[in-house]
């Protein structure tokens, strides 16, 4: 396992459409493991293959704050979205230090293949729904900054902590 370099906005690789994965080779397994490791190290909730410079339809997502439970999505597609929406701040490891308001569906249902190329379906709500939409956009060369309502803003600096007993 190794950390990969995260490509940042302005890098043309982030604007391209990714190719489907036909089979899981040992190289793909390495890539997926590295993506998970890189996501954790950067403290992100999701990472798409183009963000590490690979134009393949692979994303990894983990929205749990403590526990490591990565969701691996190969050739993912969205099946259904809810009418109900959520509007809130979104950030991206490829746009460091920034955030912006984006409206996404409250729930999504998606289909993907896992690391054994077995097809599965997943339903996400709230942050997970947002992460699935955000990461899948990457596979088609779309960054969230094109969907921001209003202005991008800097991330708030960590406030001073007061710890109560």
């Amino acid at each position: 396992m190794a950390l990969r370099n995260i490509r940042e906005i302005g890098d043309r690789v982030l604007e391209k459409t990714c190719r489907p994965v036909a089979e899981v080779t040992p190289k793909i397994v390495d890539l997926v493991n590295d993506m998970v490791e890189t996501m954790y190290e950067a403290n992100g909730v999701g990472l798409a293959a183009p963000q590490v410079g690979i134009l393949k339809r692979i994303v990894v997502i983990d929205v749990d704050p403590v526990e490591a439970n990565p969701i691996i999505m190969i050739n993912p597609e969205i099946l259904e979205v809810s009418e109900e929406t959520q509007t809130g701040d979104e950030g991206c490891l490829s746009v460091p230090g920034k955030a912006g308001q984006v409206t996404r569906p409250m729930k999504v249902k998606a289909r993907a293949q896992d690391i054994n190329m077995e097809t599965y379906e997943i339903e996400g709500e709230g942050l997970l729904a947002r992460a699935i939409c955000h990461e899948l956009d990457h596979l088609d060369g779309i960054l969230y900054v094109t969907k921001v309502e209003g202005e991008l803003h800097g991330m708030e600096a960590p406030e001073d902590v007061e710890i109560e007993d």
Binding site: A2, E41, N43, P65, V66, E67, A68, N69, V161, I163
Partner: protein, 451 residues
């Protein structure tokens, strides 16, 4: 402690880096210390201790955390897990930091790393750990594997291996010795002159360094209270060489005489080569080899610093036979690549990487090297075989291989060793130094003569 937050963040990043494939903890720590040379002495010491300790005690720290966290450490995301481990290490082993400061700094660090939502979690787990510190019980000797894993922070694979070889009491002693502070041992290059020795010692004293006697050898000393070794005149003038006593003993067992031709096969960073060169004198010569240019560069740096000109370095694979050297050498030193279990006290990452799979591969490599090493010894010359491990497969079994397959004869080590180390095996031609029993790294030395 204005810098404390940054030091902890530096430690966090270093600990995460150490867990990546191919990274060695001592190199990561050295890299940071070299980069941040301007840091005050106490910050450097705090950083080193926190990194080493958190790495070294990992199985115990995880046991403690798992008493208080609903998410077990195995399942935790790496950044938050490392922040918690660092905090528990400080709670248990760094008395100079108040418990409340440990918790506050851990929460701040988690937030700085973007884990704002985990403020409550980090705070909760650590507060409970503080409150329960006096009550927590570790598994006892009635569960030997669990006991060794938690009390002595030794992963199951090695704990099990040594339990079978040495029994519980001896294994506990070995593991305990690994956890104790490892002093920096150096060799004084006084060339046997009392005057030169006094001069070196005085130079060290003037630099404010505390110099303590080391076990077994008069030329060895323990250094304490220095800031950056590289800045000590005695060091950069080449008057001392960093080397564990065990490694000095190995070279001494070769019994090198002035004028002899010596080959050091796996030589980096060069401690043995330099001692061998000091023994041959300029009327003799040393050929010093290691696998890569990076490694021979380390040797050359040390040779240059020590102002030694009768050593030649070459990057060569010791496992590939070199016909030019057949029957050429008075002495061949083969300190072969090994599992390194003897130096776990200095390089704790070794214990986490130990596995059964690597064992046979290593032995095959060792035997390929030993076969070549023996062929380079001239008839009547000496082969010195050593490792820094405590595994029978790599030590005693290879002695048998050298005797039976390569046809060399074991020779007693007693003439070269201080009396306190004499035992049945030294007379038979080999010595296993065990941490906890002997006052040095775990090391294996054996001596053979070619007929």
């Amino acid at each position: 402690m204005a810098n404390a937050v940054n030091i902890r963040e530096l430690a966090l990043l270093s600990l995460l880096e150490m867990q990546q494939e191919g990274k060695q903890s001592h190199r990561v720590i050295r890299g940071v210390l070299d980069k941040y040379q301007y840091l005050p002495k106490q910050d450097r010491a705090f950083f080193t201790r926190l990194c080493q300790g958190t790495l070294e005690y990992r199985p115990q720290l995880d046991y403690i955390l798992n008493q208080y966290s609903s998410v077990k450490t195995k399942k935790m995301k790496p950044v938050i897990r490392e922040i918690l481990r660092m905090a528990v290490y400080q709670l248990y082993y760094m008395d100079q930091v108040p418990d409340s400061a440990v918790v506050n700094e851990a929460v701040k660090l988690a937030m700085k790393k973007g884990f704002k939502s985990l403020k409550g979690f980090v705070n909760g787990v650590l507060r409970t750990a503080v409150r329960d510190k006096g009550n927590l019980k570790f598994p006892g000797p009635d569960q030997p594997l669990k006991y060794l894993e938690v009390q002595y922070a030794m992963p199951e694979y090695l704990a099990d291996k040594w339990l079978k070889a040495y029994g519980l009491e001896q294994t506990a002693k070995i593991c305990q010795a690994f956890l104790e502070e490892k002093p920096l041992t150096v060799r004084l290059r006084d060339h046997g002159s009392q005057e030169e020795k006094e001069a070196i010692l005085q130079e060290l004293e003037e630099a404010g360094v505390e110099v303590l006697p080391a076990p077994y050898l008069e030329m060895a000393r323990i250094l304490k209270g220095y800031n950056t070794l590289q800045y000590l005149p005695a060091f950069y003038e080449g008057k001392l060489q960093v080397q564990d006593v065990s490694s000095m003993l190995a070279v001494e067992c070769a019994g090198i005489q002035p004028g002899q031709k010596v080959l050091d096969l796996c030589a980096a960073p060069g401690g043995k080569t330099i001692l061998a060169a000091d023994r041959t004198g300029e009327s003799g010569s040393v050929l010093s080899r290691d696998l890569t240019d990076y490694k021979t560069e380390l040797i050359r740096d040390n040779l240059e610093r020590c102002n030694i000109h009768h050593v030649k370095t070459e990057a060569r694979d010791a496992a590939i036979s070199d016909p030019a050297l057949l029957d050429q050498m008075d002495v061949v030193i083969a300190d072969v690549p090994c599992s390194g279990y003897g130096v776990i006290g200095r390089k704790p990452d070794i214990k986490y990487r130990a596995s059964l799979e690597n064992q046979q591969e290593l032995v095959d490599l060792q035997r390929a090297i030993l076969k070549n090493a023996a062929s380079y010894v001239k008839p009547g010359g000496v082969l010195l075989f050593s490792t820094c491990t405590i595994a029978e497969e790599e030590n005693e079994n290879n002695v048998r291989f050298i005797r039976e397959e390569l046809g060399l004869k074991s020779e007693s080590l007693d003439p070269y060793l201080p009396e306190e180390l004499h035992c049945a095996s030294t007379q038979e031609g080999y010595l296993q130094l065990l941490p906890g029993t002997h006052s040095c790294d775990g090391f294996f030395v054996s001596r053979f003569r070619k007929c």
